[in-house]
Symmetry: C2
Subunit: 352 residues, 2 copies
């Protein structure tokens, strides 16, 4: 069996046992709180993990792009939620083709999106389930008020090829309570209009552990929980020992006693810090911080007697694992120093 020492750097290595433990832990939380788990595959983009998530008890998966959903459908995944406004003839035709193959649901936050869906699915054998996307504080997509949600829900309910699924939100980090009361109000408004609200779908790994109690939410779409990263550790979701994904890097230069350079820059670790200081943490080297990135170089600042030597290999826990996955064509599953399997990141680069 190949060893981690045989891998060229930079490379993504994933501690398989940690990822599996993270899958089990989230599923157990969902089960204990009567939540349906619908993991977001944007984090791993791998059918391998999607199937493991389903096997652990997930009701289906979440994808953000039709291209990702197509890859997952090709791999045998059968229940896919695409919480995105799908617009334009080309994408709508692909959506319709996908709908013929798997159990599909989508979201809409405007009548424009709904018109496209309704026109495309008017003659579909099975109606397409559509949820109303709600802006419960994130300030991204979504209707702004419960009244707007009712307008869209009615439009879905009355369109021939569509069926109302319910409500969907991506809550702002730490604003779980605000999202909850927003959704409860919208659910009530839908009920007052005679509209059924079967699914209320929420997401985000950091707040998942606070979800479930006395909640109107029926399903949860966490993504990052499978790998975790520095951001999740900063949010208290787990420790560095729970992080499954690391970037294996080589020290290529050591120009001064306090500066070392890795062969991993913004094209390997990404510049996305999610607001954290520094760009990554070196496992087992306290006092070493990735303080700067250029495209193919990572600047490490050494303090408190931390030492590195040229040619040494290190493992970096990135700030945001989902965007790191998206930079590499393959990942290596490991068990200690053994490489168990090398997998192509099948849904990487599926932009549309």
């Amino acid at each position: 069996m190949p060893s981690i020492d045989d891998l060229d750097t930079p490379a993504i290595v994933i501690d398989a046992a940690r990822a599996e433990a993270n899958i089990r832990k989230a599923q157990a939380h969902a089960d204990a709180h009567g939540l349906k788990l619908r993991p977001h595959i944007k984090t791993h983009k791998l059918p391998y993990w999607a199937k493991k998530q389903i096997a652990a008890g997930a009701v289906g998966i979440t994808c953000q792009k039709i291209g990702e959903a197509e890859v997952m459908a090709d791999a045998g995944l059968t229940d896919i939620f695409l919480p995105y406004n799908i617009l334009g003839r080309a994408k709508l035709e692909r959506l319709k083709a996908l709908h013929g193959r798997v159990t599909l649901s989508v979201t809409a936050d405007s009548l424009v999106t709904l018109e496209g869906l309704a026109a495309t699915f008017a003659d579909a054998g099975q109606p397409l389930q559509v949820l109303v996307e709600c802006d419960t504080g994130m300030g991204r997509c979504g209707v702004q008020t419960a009244d707007e949600a009712v307008v869209l829900a009615k439009a879905i309910d009355s369109a021939r090829g569509l069926t109302l699924g319910g409500l969907m939100t991506y809550p702002a980090a730490g604003k779980q309570t605000q999202a909850e009361s927003w959704l409860a109000g919208a659910k009530q408004a839908l009920a007052a209009a005679g509209l059924d609200c079967r699914r209320i779908s929420s997401g985000g790994t950091p707040d998942m552990w606070r979800s479930g109690e006395n909640s109107v939410v029926t399903e949860y779409r966490p993504g990052t929980y499978i790998y975790l990263d520095r951001y999740q550790v900063a949010k208290g979701v787990g420790s560095l020992d729970d992080c499954a994904l690391t970037v294996l890097a080589t020290v290529v230069s050591h120009p001064t006693p306090t500066r070392a350079i890795l062969d991993s820059g913004s094209k390997a670790l990404s510049s996305d810090t999610l607001g954290l200081s520094d760009f990554g943490e070196l496992l087992g080297v306290p006092g070493a911080r990735v303080t700067g990135l250029s495209e193919e170089h990572g600047n490490v600042t050494l303090s408190d007697g931390a030492k590195l030597r040229i040619g040494e290999r290190v493992r970096v826990v990135p700030d945001h694992c989902c965007v790191v996955t998206n930079l590499f064509d393959q990942v290596h599953l490991i068990d200690g120093d053994k490489v168990l399997e090398t997998l192509p990141v099948a849904a990487r680069g599926r932009m549309g």
Copy 2:
């Protein structure tokens, strides 16, 4: 001929005439100042443009990764500079194989790197040309003093399979003068030690236009000049009308009068702002700024009466085009609204 309207979004579209004009302009500057131009392909990662750059008069190309150099060699490029410390048996073997196929040169900033090169190339038919990497103010790789440069230059000169190429730097932005005097001092120190300094190689697009006059630099390695981006515009290199690369995106949501959402987030535009405010500029929509990114959503803030409508397509000039290229598997060359050609980003994902 397909139209830009036929492309799925998000997509990279490249105004071919602008890129060609940018190639010609840089070559003319280099020619007028007696500089050899050695374009960095990290920006485009395409043999198509590398060949155009050579045809315009470049002496060779620059790659940052062996994997990029292998792709370029496979495509017929014959003179490749790899200004990077190459370490580890696997990479050194690949470097040696590449050296058998093309005219290759590399850099080193430590004796550790040189030992690996010397051991690998001791029995090579042709010696490998090695330049000493110098930190002239960037604070990344490179020897810190002229004395250190002399030590490494001597080691290169005395190693059987290596030959001394000269000095290489990536200067800090705007510190051209400082870099120049550093390099002049090191050149003098090498001369005093009886060492020849055939090549002095510098880089960076923004400062290229100040290079050449009374300079010790003999060759220049600009990368971004071919496409340009918001950062280069901010640095005064050109205007938005000179930017060849844009990301074609669709407005997928318009939740409030001042907020619109694009289908292009950090996985399409990247979070790398190079210190700029905002994440991109919408061509032809003054008052529209990309003020936030999540993975697959770009938040646009509208002011001064700027208007967008759901389903509308826009073109975004990103802050840093080199990292955007690295996110997409293909690019489309355009002439106005016509799509001339679709090219795979051949060297994307060649991490090692």
